[in-house]
């Protein structure tokens, strides 16, 4: 098994009701598999999945990225820093 810790930001934190969760996945699981499992466990998150990007080790990673045991994964909704000045 691969156990990863997941940190949630912005609206996702409110949807899931926690800043941090952990998840067990089969060994060799990808970020894509994590996203699918997330949608199963938290149906409210499904609408956010298409625009959600995951980060591992402070870098954005593709769905094919393979997770290692103990990874820290950040779920990154579309970013909106700065002013409302666009």
């Amino acid at each position: 098994m691969t156990t990863v810790s997941i940190r949630l930001y912005a609206g996702l934190q409110g949807l899931i009701g926690a800043r941090d969760i952990s998840m067990e996945l089969p060994a060799g699981a990808t970020v894509g598999a994590l996203r699918e499992r997330l949608g199963e466990l938290y149906p409210a998150v499904q609408a956010f999945l298409p625009t959600l990007v995951c980060a591992v080790d402070e870098e954005y990673v593709a769905p094919e990225h393979v997770l290692r045991d103990g990874d820290h994964v950040a779920l990154i909704p579309p970013v909106s820093g700065g002013c409302a000045c666009s």
């Binding site: 930001y9 912005a10 909704p77 820093g81 002013c83």
Partner: protein, 146 residues
């Protein structure tokens, strides 16, 4: 200088950090909290951030700026937590020998910060609140999202 803080931002500190003796110009951008958006009255904003990664991505933006423009310094400060109307949430300063590079590079840096730095804002209105969805950041090594 790259900073993520809940404290008010100090533009003079950032300008002095990016100015070198070779600099003839410093462009300083303030992102300021406005009292309305899309026709709704905004009471204040709340910012969330992934601080470690935000600092890393700010440095990447600065690297991109240095690769594209002849600048002598780049600095970014972003505030988090509750920010009131009229307060500054973002400061970007760029120095260069001549003014054109500072103006252009500062504009480029602000655009890129809003695309890839993991910071989020929530608008708080009199009758509700909403996290604002901005830009889906691109994943290095893959084509940018449509």
């Amino acid at each position: 200088m790259f900073v993520i803080t809940e404290q008010p931002l100090d533009p003079a500190e950032l300008v002095e950090a990016v100015r070198q003796d070779e600099s003839g110009a410093v462009a300083l951008f303030y992102g300021v909290v406005r009292n309305e958006n899309m026709g709704r009255a905004v009471q204040h904003l709340e910012y969330d951030a992934y601080p470690e990664m935000a600092l890393k991505k700010m440095r990447e933006v600065a690297d991109e700026v240095r690769a594209r423009f002849p600048v002598t310094g780049v600095g970014v400060m972003h505030r988090t937590g509750r920010v009131e109307i009229g307060e500054t949430s973002l400061l970007v300063a760029v120095s260069s020998a001549h003014r054109a590079a500072s103006f252009e590079a500062c504009h480029y840096a602000v655009d890129r910060i809003k695309q890839i730095v993991p910071v989020w804002k929530k608008e708080v209105w009199e009758d509700g609140e909403e996290w604002i969805e901005g830009h889906v950041p691109e994943i290095p090594g893959t084509p940018p999202p449509a």
